[in-house]
C-alpha cells in the first residue's frame, strides 16, 4: 500500500519533494508500481485473484468465481468476484482520505478523516454476504443486457469498520431523512469528470442496522484495491451495488436517493410480475432491496464421476438476504424427491450458512445434484428461472451439478 500512497502526492508535497528529486525518482523506479499495474494486462496478478476466476470484462473490470472456488467458509480475496461500473481510482491518498456527510437531512454536515473513523468510533466485525443483483443474469430468456454473470458473483468475507449508525448519530439525522446515498472516488468510463459511474444507497432503516458498516478492513487486512480500498460502505444481504466502494461521501437524503444507477432499469425490477420480454415503464419499476434466498454447491466440483456403491459427500452455502435460511434440501432425481441437508446457523446475521449432505445413487448413470434453500418466511428457491425482468436481476434458481456413476 505504501507505494500507492506515495504516488499521488501533489501540490506542496510534490514541491518539497522537488529538492530531493533524485531520491524521489530513485525510490520510485525499482518498485512494482501498483498504479501502473492498473494497465497490466493480467488482472489475476494485478488483483491477486486465482487464475480459475472468470474474467467477464476488462473495461471496466468484472470477474466472477466458479462454484467450487467458493468452498471456503469465509471467502478469501482470491475468490471474491469483482464488479465495477467505472474505473478504479488511481490516486488513492490514504492520509488525505475523507468521508463527508451532507444532504437535505444532515443536521451538521461533517467530514471525517480515515483516522477519525478508526479512532473516534467503536469498531465491529461481521461476516456479510454480498451478492451482485445481476448474479445469474446469463440464464434469462430473452437475454438481459449487461455482464453475463453465471453463479459466481457472490462472496461472504468478514468486514471490519464502524457502524454507519454511530456516524449518523454523530452527524445528526433530521426527521425528514429517507435514504442514504453514497459517493465514491471511481471515475466514469467516458472520462467525463462530472459523471459518477455509480451512486446508489440504502433506506435509512437499513442504514441504522447493527451490521451496516463503513468498513476499512476485509478479512482482517486493508480492503483490497478492487474491493474499495481504503473505505467501503457495507450493506450485507442487499445487492452488492449498495455497498459503495472507494467511499468518499454519504448524503442523508430527504427522498429516495436519485444518484447514478438508482433509476430506470438499473437495480430495479417490475413492481408487478411481467411476461418475458415485456416493456416496462420506469414508473412501474421498483428498487431491489433484500436479495432472495439462494444456495450454492461448492463441493464437489461439477462433473464428479463415482464408482457404484459409493456415496457422495457434498457441501455448500445458503443465504437469504435480510432473512435467515431455515432449511436446505437436495434432490438427485430432478426434483421428484427431496431430502434434508444438515444446516449450520450463520456466524452472525446476514452471513451465509453452511450446509452438507450425503447422497446415495441407486444405479449407474447420469445424475444432477440439485439443492434448494428455504428462507425463514417459507420462500424456497425455484427450480426454473424466476420472474423475468428487463435487466436480468434476482435469478435464484437452484444450483445444479452433474454427477456420473460409472
Amino acid at each position: 500500500m505504501e507505494r500507492r500512497h506515495f504516488v499521488q502526492k501533489s501540490g506542496l508535497t510534490a514541491l518539497s519533494a522537488l529538492l530531493g528529486a533524485e531520491i524521489v525518482f530513485g525510490n520510485r523506479l525499482p518498485v512494482g508500481l501498483p498504479l501502473l499495474g492498473l494497465q497490466d494486462p493480467d488482472p489475476f496478478k494485478m488483483f491477486n485473484k486465482d487464475p480459475q476466476m472468470v474474467l467477464l470484462n476488462d473495461k471496466p473490470w468484472n470477474m466472477e468465481a466458479q462454484a467450487h472456488l467458493l468452498d471456503d467458509k469465509i471467502t478469501p480475496n482470491k475468490f471474491m468476484f469483482i464488479r465495477n461500473n467505472g474505473k478504479i481510482p488511481e490516486n488513492i491518498d490514504v492520509a488525505g482520505w475523507t468521508l463527508s456527510f451532507d444532504g437535505e437531512a444532515a443536521r451538521n454536515p461533517k467530514t471525517y478523516t480515515l483516522n477519525d473513523l478508526k479512532t473516534r468510533f467503536p469498531q465491529h466485525t461481521y461476516q456479510l454476504t454480498l451478492e451482485c443483483g445481476g448474479n445469474g443474469r446469463s440464464e434469462f430468456d430473452p437475454p438481459a443486457k449487461g455482464n453475463q454473470w453465471t453463479i459466481g458473483a457472490v462472496s461472504c468475507a468478514t468486514w471490519t469498520g464502524v457502524r454507519l449508525r454511530d456516524l449518523l448519530e454523530d452527524v445528526g439525522v433530521g426527521s425528514n431523512a429517507v435514504y442514504i446515498g453514497y459517493h465514491a472516488a471511481d471515475t466514469h468510463l467516458s472520462g467525463d469528470p462530472t459523471k459518477e459511474p455509480i451512486s446508489r444507497g440504502i433506506p435509512i432503516e437499513k442504514a441504522l442496522q447493527d451490521e451496516t458498516l463503513v468498513a476499512f478492513q476485509m478479512n482482517g487486512k486493508d480492503i483490497p484495491l478492487a474491493h474499495g480500498y481504503p473505505l467501503r460502505l457495507i450493506a450485507g444481504g442487499w445487492p452488492a451495488s449498495t455497498s459503495g466502494k472507494w467511499l468518499t461521501g454519504l448524503s442523508i437524503r430527504d427522498r429516495v436517493h436519485d444518484g447514478e444507477k438508482m433509476t430506470g432499469s438499473s437495480y430495479r425490477v417490475p413492481c408487478e410480475p411481467v411476461e418475458p420480454g415485456a416493456k416496462v415503464a420506469d414508473e412501474d419499476m421498483c428498487i431491489i432491496e433484500s436479495m432472495p434466498v439462494k444456495s450454492l454447491i461448492t463441493y464437489p466440483k461439477s462433473g464428479a464421476t463415482l464408482s457404484p456403491g459409493n456415496s457422495l459427500s457434498f457441501r455448500g452455502h445458503a443465504w437469504a438476504g435480510e432473512l435467515e435460511v431455515s432449511k436446505v434440501e437436495y434432490s438427485i432425481d430432478f426434483g421428484s424427491t427431496w431430502k434434508a441437508c444438515a444446516l449450520e446457523a450463520p456466524a452472525n446475521r446476514l452471513a451465509w450458512q453452511h450446509f452438507s449432505g450425503n447422497a446415495n445413487f441407486p444405479k449407474k448413470g447420469y445424475y444432477e445434484l440439485w439443492v434448494r434453500a428455504t428462507d425463514s418466511r417459507g420462500n424456497a428457491q425455484p427450480m426454473v428461472l424466476p420472474g423475468w425482468n428487463p435487466k436480468g436481476y434476482l435469478n435464484n434458481a437452484c444450483h445444479r451439478i452433474a454427477i456420473k456413476i460409472a
Binding site: 504516488v7 499521488q8 501533489s10 501540490g11 510534490a14 514541491l15 522537488l18 528529486a21 525518482f25 520510485r28 523506479l29 525499482p30 508500481l33 498504479l35 501502473l36 494497465q39 497490466d40 494486462p41 474474467l55 467477464l56 470484462n57 476488462d58 473495461k59 471496466p60 490516486n91 440464464e139 434469462f140 430468456d141 430473452p142 437475454p143 443486457k145 449487461g146 455482464n147 453475463q148 466514469h188 468510463l189 467516458s190 472520462g191 467525463d192 459523471k195 464437489p300 466440483k301 461439477s302 462433473g303 464428479a304 464421476t305 463415482l306 459409493n310 457422495l312 444432477e368 427450480m383 426454473v384 428461472l385 434458481a397 445444479r400 451439478i401 452433474a402 456420473k404
Partner: protein, 162 residues
C-alpha cells in the same frame, strides 16, 4: 589599485553568483511548470512499465492489431463479419469489447442500448455508422431461445476419489 581590483573581483563573483542563482531558479521554475502539466509524473513512471514485460507484449499486439483467426478478430474477440471494424472503432473506446460480445440482443434492443449510451454515457452521434453497427450486431449477436432452464453444459468429467 588594490581596492579597485578587489572591487572587480567581487563584482565578477557577484555576477557569477547571480547567473548561478538565475540558472537555479530557471531549473526550479521549469520543474515546477512540468509538475503543473504532469502532477503525477507519469512520464517518469511509464519507463519501468515498458521494461518489465509488456514491451514484448506490445510488439506482438501491434503486429496482431488486425489479425483475424477462425473468423474472430483476435484483439477484440468480435466476429470478423461485415462492419466489424466500424464496431471496433466506435464501441471499444469507453468499454471493453467483452461487454458487447457477451450479450445477445434483438436489433431493437441493440438500438435502445445505443440510445441509452447516447443519452446517459456520452456516446457520440454515430451518423451513417449507426446502420452498419446495428446490422452487424443484430446479425452476429442475436438472441437464441434458451427456455426456462438449459442443460448443464461444458461439464469437465473427473474421477472423484473417496
Amino acid at each position: 589599485m588594490e581596492p579597485q581590483h578587489d572591487f572587480h573581483k567581487s563584482a565578477k563573483a557577484i555576477s557569477r553568483m547571480l547567473r548561478m542563482i538565475f540558472g537555479f531558479f530557471l531549473v526550479i521554475a521549469s520543474l515546477l511548470i512540468y509538475l503543473m502539466v504532469d502532477p503525477g509524473l507519469t512520464a517518469f513512471k511509464a519507463a519501468p512499465e515498458v521494461v518489465v514485460e509488456p514491451a514484448a507484449a506490445d510488439a506482438v499486439a501491434e503486429e496482431d492489431w488486425d489479425k483475424v483467426e477462425d473468423g474472430i478478430h483476435v484483439r477484440t474477440g468480435f466476429v470478423a463479419e461485415e462492419g466489424y471494424m466500424t464496431v471496433v472503432n466506435n464501441c471499444t473506446n469507453c468499454h471493453s469489447a467483452r461487454l458487447v460480445t457477451q450479450n445477445r440482443m434483438s436489433r431493437e434492443s441493440w438500438e435502445a442500448t445505443i440510445r441509452w449510451m447516447q443519452q446517459t454515457q456520452n456516446l457520440w452521434d454515430l451518423g451513417n455508422n449507426e446502420e452498419i453497427i446495428l446490422n452487424y450486431l443484430a446479425t452476429n449477436y442475436a438472441p437464441q431461445k434458451k427456455g426456462r432452464r438449459q442443460n448443464l453444459e461444458n461439464i469437465e468429467w473427473y474421477v472423484l476419489e473417496n
